[in-house]
Assembly symmetry: C2
Homo-oligomer: 374 residues x 2
């Protein structure tokens, strides 16, 4: 491909990227080296991610057109397999009904088969499933594969918390970036304007390739070199959203909700910087920070279920409400609150984080919902 | 008064204050030196401020019980004067119906009389009236009076923008702090939890006295030494709220709204730091920053009228909608957007602030409401 054409393609999606000349094969546009993308996860956000990516791989010569999407197989009430219906109708009828994914998206129920030709892996599943998925992928993926995680959450091990991007990197021996930001997937799916942030560790060129792959005129992606900051924003905001949902359920008004969101943002920043001193303040002003916090506290599923929990005075458990309200989608905030609480109590930091610890104590029934403002 | 009692009173309102020993008369608790507070402005927020203050002056020996509130006199439909009704019923029936202000609040239609014994002045009027009020007060107030401004907005003069606190300081020759933050006055009035930020220039003791005067268990006030940052937050957030209202009117969803709020916060920070390099990043994480922005963009009057403006496709002017929707309350965001635009165009900064400049161009009819996301 002529450099001029490359330059044109690089400016796809309304983003002006200053992509420098490729230094190694991974970034080479030569047809035999086109990158091949597999999305691991076929839920609501996974389907939207596949749709965004598939619209770009058709336009950009540096990627194979086909986007493979590994979908956890389910049998629908009709008796059909979910992947068969996705491949026949080009719609994920269970998790993103009414939206065409793009004909170049191929649903695949076989994890090993789905990744075998890929050199760009997009992880987007509930975080509870990540450890098992990584174990199944060991030894099955190409060398030089790049990964990106859209997964919110963390694992708490004996030696401390481990972010999902680290889990992927360590288990699979590959570099892993993250993409966080506005996560009301249904709004992105219908082309409403939103933003996201890519967090990367070292290689700016790799980050810019992910920016290219996700950016559209209505989905504006910015890369920052602060992987832990970006990932912790995406993870911890779900805990704040639970608190915001309690405030909504108690009908305490917008001032209170804004105050709780501010305290939550402050704890997000303090917690992130205690765990990783390299985390930058400026990251909290990116889309993954304040904007995603706002989106999630206004409309996300964590907020919604927490609102119902508070309305019921904590008498119905989160598990029960989740099963009833989310049609198989998973709630991240409650489990993340538990993980954060474990870190806080293990390190003696509980008193430094009254909002985070209270969310856990309310959601496990040890305190009433009204404790959120006490 | 015994020091022990002072110490107890200082911890009033759930705030732990580390008030050092008074150094001069103004801070002396001696009965003959008790501070006397006058609130200048009897609208919605002025009435709530008077109520908060009056609950504290009764409890704290360092203040006279009585709080005088200058009210711009109006004749009610019943033929009665507004101040007479306030003093008879202890309610501001026009701007804060149903809320008792406290029996120690005295409404006064005579500005000169209202301030004659005061040494603490709380300014809380629409900013359009501030220049006229200051002119009338020249030579009428005590030496060593301290002022605080709750007024949002700025004045644009030939030599650049002037903040309201500077206007007060310069015209009256007194020190002036600011209090900004959650401004949904009706929620504060009914005791819903919220926060605010006092911005001060130099004297920490004075700032702490203002914190004492405003703090209650449900209204938590924090002081920061960044008067311009705090005041510009309170002022500029109304411009962002206009943008958020446009997004609501166009029904663009929460992702878009959060993205616009984030871009707005970024422009607030950039604009403030260009005007006053001393402005601190951390101020934007205080209540006056991100929390007030959220409150105002969720529920404030600027948002509400801008939503109606966009729903009408810009065909009905802001003046018309304001008159119809706000029952005599004033909109700050549109005039502030005009003032900001004047600063930006005068200094050649228009292109650096696409959100601020687009809000002005939409609200003056030069661009359609949909331009807010273009």
């Amino acid at each position: 491909m002529a450099p001029a054409l490359d330059a044109q393609e690089v400016s796809n999606g309304g983003e002006t990227l200053t992509l420098s000349q490729p230094h190694h094969n991974w970034l080479n546009n030569n047809a035999s080296h086109r990158s091949k993308v597999t999305v691991i996860g076929g839920g609501n956000w996974g389907s939207v991610a596949a749709k965004l990516i598939a619209s770009n791989t058709l336009k950009l010569t540096s990627f194979h057109d086909e986007v493979r999407m590994w979908v956890f197989e389910e049998t629908l009430p009709s008796g059909e397999k979910l992947t068969d219906v996705i491949n026949r109708t080009n719609e994920n009828v269970k998790y993103l009904r009414g939206i065409k994914l793009g004909k170049n998206v191929v649903a695949d129920p076989d994890l090993e088969n789905a990744v075998k030709d890929a050199n760009m892996l997009v992880f987007v599943t509930p975080h509870q499933f990540m450890e098992g998925i990584c174990k199944r992928l060991v030894g099955k993926i190409k060398r030089d594969t790049e990964a990106i995680s859209l997964v919110k959450g963390m694992e708490v091990k004996m030696d401390g918390p481990r972010m999902i991007s680290s889990l992927i990197s360590k288990q699979l021996g590959i570099n892993c970036s993250v993409l966080m930001g506005a996560n009301i997937a249904n709004e992105i799916a219908v082309g409403k304007f939103s933003e996201a942030t890519v967090g990367y560790r070292e290689n700016r060129e790799v980050a810019e390739k992910w920016v290219q792959l996700f950016s559209t005129p209505y989905f504006v992606v910015t890369a920052v070199q602060d992987i832990e900051g970006v990932e912790l924003c995406g993870t911890l905001k779900n805990v704040v959203a639970i608190a915001a949902g309690f405030v909504d359920g108690l009908e305490m008004g917008n001032n209170t909700k804004a105050a709780i969101m501010r305290l939550g943002l402050r704890e997000m920043k303090a917690f992130s910087k205690l765990l990783f001193p390299s985390v930058k303040d400026s990251t909290f002003f990116e889309s993954c920070g304040v904007a995603d916090l706002i989106t999630t506290c206004l409309g996300g599923r964590n907020r919604k279920v927490a609102e119902a929990f508070a309305k019921n005075g904590g008498k119905r458990s989160f598990d029960e409400l989740e099963a009833e309200m989310l049609q198989g989608q998973k709630l991240q905030g409650v489990s993340t609150a538990g993980e954060v609480y474990e870190v806080l109590s293990h390190r003696g930091w509980l008193e430094l984080f009254p909002l985070f610890s209270t969310v856990h104590e309310i959601s496990t029934g040890r305190l009433p919902p009204s404790a959120i403002v006490e």
